[in-house]
């Protein structure tokens, strides 16, 4: 089944909408869309790709013909595809302790070391690290996990360290990584984040 659409003379988003309507109602295996401007060419081509069509383009004078071909049994995809993970989610990690879990403190500290070292595996969604209460001790001179934190900061992750907490432990001068922050920044961060992980 082949579907032809002539979207010449139409400006965006009309060519995409016509293409979408045809796919929604007929789900053709082959589709050819004729457009006459550059924006429509790129938009229709993108839309077909987002619907899992293999796309090829031909230029004909000032017109473009965009052909899409779909595997017979491929399932129609109504929703837009997953966006690459660079922008769509912001994960914030709140660290309120210098060791993980209760029980053996030595083990807890080891786990924290492993945790901070592994955190980067979250990838680009990792957005902010916030240190509160005993957690601030991980950010000061002599802390053994500083290297992991410095690496994270270098890769563009914001590290916020609670000023009140540093002050309480008399560590204000000793902080080695991250920005000293306040509760408003922390609360704002929570609001902006898509996901807050609490350690």
């Amino acid at each position: 089944m082949k579907k032809d659409i002539d979207a010449r003379g139409l400006s965006c988003p009309a060519p995409v909408l016509q293409t979408k309507a045809a796919i929604d109602s007929e789900s053709p295996v082959l589709i050819e869309v004729l457009v006459d401007n550059e924006a429509a060419r790129q938009n229709v081509s993108r839309f077909l790709k987002s619907q899992k069509y293999q796309v090829s383009e031909k230029r004909n004078g000032s017109d473009y013909c965009i052909s899409g071909k779909r595997e017979g049994e491929a399932v129609m995809q109504k929703k837009a595809p997953e966006i690459s993970k660079s922008q769509d989610a912001k994960i914030m990690v709140m660290v309120t302790t210098d060791r993980i879990g209760h029980g053996d403190d030595e083990l807890g500290a080891k786990l924290m070391t492993a945790f901070l070292k592994t955190l980067k595996e979250i990838g680009r969604e990792l957005w902010r690290l916030v240190f509160l209460n005993n957690g601030v001790k991980l950010t000061v001179d002599g802390a053994k996990d500083l290297v992991s934190l410095e690496e994270l900061e270098k890769s563009g992750i914001t590290i916020l360290v609670c000023g009140t907490c540093l002050d309480h432990f008399k560590l204000l001068e000793k902080k080695k990584v991250g920005e000293t922050t306040n509760m408003l920044d922390i609360v704002t961060s929570m609001q902006l984040a898509d996901k807050v992980i609490n350690i």
């Binding site: 400006s11 965006c12 988003p13 995409v16 909408l17 979408k20 401007n37 550059e38 924006a39 429509a40 790129q42 938009n43 229709v44 081509s45 993108r46 839309f47 987002s50 837009a80 595809p81 966006i83 690459s84 660079s86 922008q87 769509d88 680009r124 957005w127 563009g156 920005e179 408003l184 920044d185 704002t188 609001q191 902006l192």
Partner: protein
């Protein structure tokens, strides 16, 4: 073309800026701007508000305070109910009132297509005019509203956006840049513009051109409406984005890690977008903090001015 000028023109046509500025006395200058467009949302009252917020924005971006405004109307009186025009103008007036600006006149003509906008006049001290020029190495760049309204408006036109999203975007476009401008006045701001039709990168390109300096933008710090990325992937992109990209891509260097969809949003034409503020480095965090304190939660430091690459924008 040569335009007549005189010694009191502080900002004129020779340098494309957000508005014209004319010195009246040693401590007072007039800011003048005009903007109008066809409807971008279905609701006439909200369209009026957005048109007014958009027109007022140029005065705020120049560091000024808006004082008076005049309506510009094109209306298809034969085919459209006059009640619609009343609602549009009510929206405009309400937004002007919020901005402590008075409507003192206007002009309307019959037009096949509905158009509405305003001419706005404001005051500024001649020594405190903020333009797109005067970037300094080390300056930090703050953006006060998220990008993506052009793409989302395209999806709205296509009937694909949810009511909730329409509501969010409408409110965002109708939000005055007044609060951001008021906060910014108390900081060593070197340059400012508002992000509109040329998109973030188009306006940044205007700032960086002729400066002898370069701008670095951290893509993952730029506030973006998530849905814009979804719609960009579906090809619901306004033709203006492609024009913006074609016009300025020679000045922009994208690192390979910057997704094509994000590139699109960075070039997406905005309606009534946020302020792009260029502030001295050591004040940037304070300014950001004060903006957020004032309720401008989308504000982010998105990049900085460096000596390299000269008159180019690097996106990492």
């Amino acid at each position: 073309m040569v335009f007549p000028t005189d010694e009191n023109v502080i900002v004129g046509l020779d340098r494309a800026d957000d508005a014209g500025v004319y010195r009246i006395s040693d401590d007072l200058a007039l800011i003048q701007t005009v903007d109008f467009f066809t409807p971008i949302v279905d609701d006439p009252y909200w369209f009026g508000q957005i048109a007014a917020a958009n027109a007022l924005s140029d005065v705020y971006a120049m560091g000024g305070t808006p004082k008076t405004a005049m309506n510009l109307v094109g209306f298809p009186i034969k085919s459209m109910d006059i009640g619609i025009l009343r609602q549009i103008i009510q929206g405009g007036v309400d937004k002007l009132t919020e901005a402590s600006t008075v409507l003192i006149g206007g002009h309307s003509i019959e037009d096949k297509e509905l158009k509405y906008g305003l001419s706005v006049t404001g005051f500024v001290h001649p020594a405190r005019v903020l333009t797109k020029k005067n970037l300094q190495a080390g300056d930090q760049l703050i953006l006060t509203k998220p990008l993506g309204t052009g793409i989302i408006n395209t999806a709205i036109k296509g009937g694909l956006a949810s009511d909730e999203l329409i509501d969010t975007v409408t409110r965002l476009m109708a939000t005055l840049n007044r609060d951001a401008a008021e906060v910014m006045m108390n900081f060593p701001v070197h340059a400012c513009t508002d992000v509109t039709g040329f998109g973030l990168l188009g306006h940044l390109a205007e700032m960086v051109a002729g400066s002898g300096l370069g701008v670095h933008i951290q893509a993952n710090r730029v506030p973006i409406l998530k849905e814009a990325l979804e719609y960009a992937a579906m090809g619901l992109i306004p033709a203006g984005m492609y024009k913006n990209r074609k016009f300025r891509e020679y000045m922009v260097d994208f690192s390979t890690s910057v997704d094509i969809l994000i590139q699109d949003v960075l070039f997406d034409p905005q309606t009534s977008g946020g302020l792009l503020i260029c502030v001295a480095q050591d004040s940037s965090k304070d300014l950001l903090y004060r903006l957020k304190e004032k309720g401008i939660l989308w504000a982010e430091i998105i990049g900085e001015v460096r000596t390299e690459p000269k008159e180019k924008i690097k996106i990492i």
